[in-house]
């Protein structure tokens, strides 16, 4: 195909604009990466921009030498895996029965669940109820109240709807019950969506800190990594908390903070590009059928 000159110029402009967008997206991350790998004297003189100066891994070594930080990382990783598995299980057993049109009361249950997406009791009623159940200051408060998201359930259900009904009928004729149909037909055909939802749930838990901030005040062992970082990084509470974690020396603390940020970010950055094809489909389903 022959392109006119103006089209080619247009293409170049589009590519240039995209390059600018890429730059804007990556600059903050590159700056933090460079700072985490630089030595302190350059940092104090504000000489580190996008490339590290005085290249070294000391900050990473120091951060990994802090038991509290390593504990928080491991604990959050375990928490994330556990929550993701539980959430996937709950999502599947909630979405699957609702795909049966013959199910009596299915419509009602569906409305009953969707209602919670539009109207929520609010922060304080949740807090008071969890408090009255003695769930505050336990690990369960980070696991159970957020273990099923209506939005993700809708994505799962839409994906199940996409599987031809004839497959289910064939399985029923062969004598398979609903659970066997689910395990042997529906789940294997929904692997992409399961991967997407696993990513959504895992990212939500790994990045989540507001529930921990609200529900866990004294038990520092239960702080997920983001809350731990919040306590180190923010101006509001930095003094006391940072001192406790040994982050107070100027300059030195800077590289340590940046290294801590990198550790909390890298796991997600390693995973999401591989799932891109799947989550693009997942988001689209959720938006259309929501």
């Amino acid at each position: 195909m022959i392109k006119s000159k103006s089209t080619r110029i247009g293409d170049i402009v589009v590519v240039a604009l995209c390059l600018i967008l890429i730059f804007v997206c990556l600059v903050p991350m590159l700056n933090v990466l460079a700072r985490s790998l630089s030595s302190t004297e350059y940092l104090i003189r504000n000489e580190v921009l996008l490339w590290p100066k005085g290249f070294n891994f000391n900050a990473y070594k120091t951060v990994l030498g802090r038991p509290a930080y390593v504990h928080s990382l491991w604990y959050t990783a375990l928490l994330t895996v556990g929550c993701t598995l539980l959430s996937l299980f709950m999502t599947v057993i909630c979405a699957y029965p609702l795909t049966y049109d013959q199910l009596k009361g299915g419509k009602f249950i569906n409305g009953f669940i969707l209602f919670t997406m539009y109207f929520s009791a609010g922060m304080i009623p949740h807090y008071v109820m969890l408090s009255s159940m003695n769930m505050l200051e336990t690990v369960w408060v980070l696991v159970i109240p957020s273990c099923l998201s209506v939005y993700n359930m809708i994505i799962m259900r839409s994906s199940f709807y996409g599987i031809p009904e004839s497959l289910r009928e064939a399985a029923e004729i062969d004598g398979a019950g609903p659970i066997r149909t689910l395990v042997q037909i529906y789940l294997p055909l929904s692997k992409p969506v399961l991967a997407t939802l696993a990513l959504f749930y895992a990212v939500g838990r790994w990045n989540g800190f507001s529930d921990a901030l609200l529900y866990i005040k004294t038990n520092r062992d239960l702080y997920p990594i983001q809350l731990y970082l919040y306590n180190i990084l923010t101006n509001a509470s930095s003094g006391e908390a940072a001192a406790q974690e040994g982050f107070t020396m100027p300059g030195l603390s800077e590289t340590l903070k940046m290294a801590s940020v990198m550790f909390a970010t890298v796991p997600i950055l390693l995973v999401y590009p591989w799932l891109q094809r799947y989550f693009v489909a997942g988001v689209t389903i959720g938006a259309v059928k929501g």
């Binding site: 995209c18 921009l49 922060m123 304080i124 659970i179 901030l213």
Partner: protein, 326 residues
Amino acid sequence: MKTARAEKTINTAKPGRRGRAFSTYMHRYGTLYLLLALPVTFFIIFRYIPMAYILMAFKKNNIILPPWQVDWAKNNGFEWFIKAFKDKLFRRALGNTVTLNLLDLVCGFPAPIIMALLLNELAFKRFKKFTQTVLYLPHFLSWIIIASLALRLLADNDGLINIFYKQMKGDPNAVLPFLSKEKWWIGSYIALGIWKEAGWGTIIYLAALTSISPELYEAAAVDGAGRFRRIWHVTLPGLRPTIIVLLIMRLGYILGSEFDRPLALTNNLVTNVSTVLSIYIYQKGIKGGSQFSLTTAVGLFQSVVGVLFLFGANFLAKRFGERGIM
């Protein structure tokens, strides 16, 4: 075969027909109810029972007893709503919430549409995919991480941009107060929101774009339409339904308030403009004060107005002949 026979039995059996039908039905689908039992219990306990505690908004403040054992508040139970609206801090939080959400809507809503149009014009497949991957990255960062990135980038003294600015001006005291002056902070807050979510927002629009028939573009090209006229007359009309649905959801959120974002981005110099309703509730209810009744009332006000806006926007969309979301 088996299905047909089963139906026949149900239809012909006369004595105890309903009972038989019921037992056949349960035999076949009972497991489904068993599967649903756990999720439904979850929604009852963790979503509906908290709604009973909304009663606190109409009762005297009591942090020990459950609300059904407490006396009604003054003014027919509306004491706390009246108190909230007399509270200067609440009115400010309400104003901040609406201001930030409106700015988010005006600036943040078009951003992914424009980016999607740009990506759609990109002729090189591989480069397009790479660009998308990079643009999705910020969505996967938590607001805590973004707050620390923002500090490195925008801080008054050692932020990347201000380092350049000082060098450019040749004056070590020259400063662009991105995070320390209220008006600037609002701008940074909105810009960071766009930075985080605009790329992710393109996914939906790009998916909608694939359903536009290529014939339309060819016809437009034959008629001599250039790039911009094709975007205006073919691409944008194709996106219209998607835009409307997403706009409804955004409008329904006009009084909603995020928690992570303002909490992570705020600092002591800008609390006047950064305290939104969720932060107000957190500070008065949980962090200090234990004003459960007052904050529950504020939360209820927020939820109810949110639902009303959602229904209103949905109604309007249907009026204008769009599909709506409900």
